[in-house]
Amino acid sequence: MTKAAVKTIKVDTLARVEGEGALYIKLKGEQVQDVKLRIYEPPRLFEAFLRGRHCSEVPDLVARICGICPIAYQMSGVHAIECALGIEIDPSVRALRRLFYCGEWIESHALHVYMLHAPDFLGYPDAIAMARDHPRVVEQALRLKKAGNRIVSLMGGREIHPVSAAVGGFYKVPAKSVLKELEDELKWALDASLETCRFVAGLEFPDFEQDYEFVSLSHPGEYPFNEGRIISNRGLDIDVKEYEEHFVEQHVEHSNALHSLLRSRGSYMVGPLARFNLNFDRLPNIAQQAARDCGLRIPCLNPFRSIIVRAIELVFAFHEALRIIAQYEPPPAARKPLHATAATGYAATEAPRGLLYHRYELNADGIITSAKIVPPTSQNQRRIEEDLWHFAGQIASRPEEEITRKCEQAVRNYDPCISCATHFLKLHLEREG
């Protein structure tokens, strides 16, 4: 038998992902021998410097973990502190927080669908090159993204690191008339997001399915944002407080991002595909119908089709934003008062990329003595590597350039957020054969 030669595929700087990561794949013939998603984004040590800060500072501090999803960090942060201090938020504040989150999902999903992921399917290096051939698509993308950003900046002063989120509520809540100003553009955007669904449903998808354990929040009456139990398709059904009993973080040498695993079963997936598969019946009719029109089966097991699911979640987010605005009545007070007490608080919310868990321990002065933050990309990291083990094997006979390109696309299925996870990507393909 002739000895198969070794081929290495490496991507030193993964593009169109948020943060710094590299990919390394070693192939012997058509056999995958090694896959490493190397996250070399420098650690910023948030969980360490949060110790000694006051709990009221949490939304401002943790926002800085990620420039794309600051609201996710703010929401998990404030809910965890409110859990610790026993603060019950006003129902109007709860609705406003959902609206705020809609803005971030829209901005983040529109960015990923059109500017980071669609170029892979259509063969462009970026959205700007794509705009030369598809100007209308890119202009529409920018307008959709802007509609999400408009919600955020109207409620929080700016798109990135908005300033209004506070423990107990908001520093300032919008007047009814201010939110009404958003309605016309959001109605346009809801229609446009249905077009987005048709656009992405028409792309070509590799034939690739995996037997995933999906994990997301679940709420009896709503598609999840800020509240619910943590469930999976394999029987997990726990309170957020039990998270650390069931999930463990592992430190591997090739990554500055910790790998989060289910203690009993290993890797799992969080994010749009997990949310969609576990909560399809909580989507409004318009989003369910859009999913059917796109030909999505439930559950959807092809990670490349996550681009369609993000488009469905865009439909949901615009619909939900319009619903909240139509029913909005300002709360009696912008926020509930904060009374410090020694306590521990937990929260998980659904960031655009998936479940985001926070835990804080506070002393009697409200000073943080311990913090734990588990971002979505940490949780997906092992699953991304496993996808690549299977997917790289499936396409191993193809030319090296194509393997590299398709493996990068497979990584982008997860919309990895490396800055978040570092506490992520270059492709490095080594090939024997």
Partner: protein
């Protein structure tokens, strides 16, 4: 600059330790993005494009602080390749929130976060870009203001001085017609010592400025610390106030160390 250039000006966007928010500001300039992309050649911007061209670059936009040996070497190479180097945001300009390690034992910090500290390579200090190489312009803010970024790129290409004022947030707040929350409500506000640029957002949202644009040109931090004491803030709270996203900027550093000692 552009008048002398025969080619479209080449822009590179480089990331060091940061949250990506400042470079995202460029993609968030939805109305201007395609115009900017038409006027320049975005030669290196990994977050947005898999087309990554080698230097030299006419303008380097640098985000993030230096926290590893590798990055300390990489910034030297970015400087060698770039005609004009502009830092964008508090991390690149002042070391960022990750500079809070500068007052602590970084090894202990790593032990708090990571199970196997020996896998982690990081420097004891998080430092701004200007501590490593010559910087041509520092754009402040956590995050930067996207309109200031577009203005700065346009000014650099035209070879003129950018219209980026260095006065305090207070001035922006007064111009906006806000009632002073420090005076009227007794809220501790860093506005008097903080560099303008955000449009006085926090006071407009019923809260005190938390200094995310860093120190203004000549801040009187001592006077503001006294005022904070009058408002009932203790030394720990004052130390924390100056020890935020621009903690390592020397004016804020001095103020936080003074209140820490007091």
């Amino acid at each position: 600059m552009s008048s002398k250039l025969k080619h479209k000006p080449r822009i590179g966007v480089f990331k060091f330790a940061s949250c990506d928010g400042c470079q995202l500001s460029l993609l968030d300039a939805e109305d201007e993005l395609l115009a900017v992309a038409g006027a320049v050649d975005i030669a290196y911007f990994p977050e947005a494009s898999s087309r990554m061209l080698k230097g030299p670059y006419d303008i380097a936009l640098v985000e993030g602080s230096i926290t590893t040996h590798h990055d300390a070497e990489r910034i030297q190479e970015v400087r060698r390749q770039s005609k004009t180097l502009i830092t964008i945001g508090a991390c690149a300009t002042a070391g960022g929130i990750q500079a809070l390690r500068n007052w602590k034992d970084v090894d202990e910090f790593v032990r708090i976060v990571y199970a196997t500290p020996k896998y982690i390579q990081t420097l004891k200090l998080s430092t701004p870009i200007a501590e490593h190489v010559t910087v041509n312009f520092e754009l402040r803010g956590c995050p930067i203001n996207k309109y200031q970024l577009v203005e700065l790129i346009a000014a650099t290409l035209a070879g003129r001085k950018p219209n980026v004022p260095t006065y305090s947030t207070c001035l922006e707040c007064k111009r906006k017609g806000n009632v002073c929350i420090a005076v009227a409500q007794g809220v501790a506000c860093l506005g008097p010592v903080t560099h303008a640029g955000c449009g006085a957002l926090c006071p407009s949202y019923d809260r005190g400025c938390y200094g995310c644009y860093g120190p203004m040109e000549s801040p009187n931090t001592e006077s503001l610390s006294s005022q904070f004491r009058i408002l009932g803030q203790d030394n720990e709270a004052i130390t924390r106030a100056f020890r935020g996203f621009n903690a390592w900027a020397w004016q804020f550093r001095k103020a936080s160390e003074e209140s820490e000692r007091a």
